[in-house]
Symmetry: C2
DNA sequence: ATCGATATTGACACAAAGTATCACTAGTGA
DNA sequence: TCACTAGTGATACTTTGTGTCAATATCGAT
């Protein structure tokens, strides 16, 4: 295994994200900035609906469609990772450059990101044996973090 | 890698499934039998809604809730595997005893089941480094099967 | 074979999660 | 500043799944 790291170290700054948006030809709009700000405030995985709820009231209220669209854009630019847990509920984790996987606490949601991927060997074997053209894989690990183990 | 195998080899017979239902204390009802029959006819992954559509018309029509409940029961008894693809849509594959993963064709849906799991080493390293209690993992591989590669 | 407790069913209403439309607004480059 | 067009959000809609509950079917016991 190569490395485990704290999710904080993968966070991009607002400036970096805005730069990426421009580079990809997206406009820098008010609502988009509000969504990005909100995303960066999250240290843990969050669902689209959580973000909708946070941003649907208040002075600059953001529409549901805009939240979903912005999450899609950010995920496509590797600002966010979309993770689907075994129960089928997708959540988002901010910061995701490169090939990463996650270890999630099923109690509190805290996340450890890791770059070690044990798949490459398996993938060549699979490709050889099945003649499939292999495009992608999902790999996520679930458990209970030390803190949640301690608190019973 | 230990083995790849054709999904057909993992199919259980109706009798075996009914036996399992009894063993787990479930009653052997008409609707349940109809759902099991339908499930066994599927050689490829199918969604709950597909099954609902198949069984909602005809002489012995099954209610939506019953289909969902039966799928849940069958999955809990390892008669079915519930797989969640990266787009978040769950589908079911019949036959799933033991620890298995899948290679799915993104075009036609055909599936190869494999028992090789490259996770055990990674999991002990992760547990050591993070002190997480690790409970489960998702690992699915996606690509294009040889036949779909040929047909352009 | 009949009975009674209860597991199961399915119509229905409801909820959650996400998408299509489209008139309007606001960024952006010129 | 202007014109072009990407982006927004209210609304309606779809899909997928869940909760309720009176009616029914199963099954072990008699
Ligand atoms: Mn990987
Ligand atoms: Mn595994
Ligand atoms: Zn925790
Ligand atoms: Zn195929």
């Amino acid at each position: 295994m190569q490395q485990t790291q704290n999710p904080h170290t993968t966070h991009l700054t607002i400036e970096e994200i805005e730069h990426r948006l421009r580079q990809h030809g997206y406009r820098l709009t008010g609502p988009r900035t509000v969504v990005v700000d909100a995303v960066l405030r999250h240290q843990r995985p969050f669902t689209a609906e959580q973000l909708v709820a946070e941003l649907s009231s208040g002075d600059d209220s953001i529409g549901r469609a805009t939240v979903y669209r912005t999450l899609e854009v950010l995920a496509s630019m590797d600002v966010l990772t979309r993770i689907v847990s075994p129960d089928g509920h997708p959540s988002y984790i901010s910061g995701a450059p490169g090939h990463r996987h996650h270890l999630l606490c099923q109690v509190c949601g805290i996340t450890v990101t890791f770059t070690a991927c044990p798949m490459s060997e398996l993938i060549s074997t699979l490709a050889d044996e099945t003649k499939f053209q292999i495009n992608e894989h999902t790999l996520e690990v679930f458990g209970v973090c030390p803190s949640c183990q301690a608190h019973q």
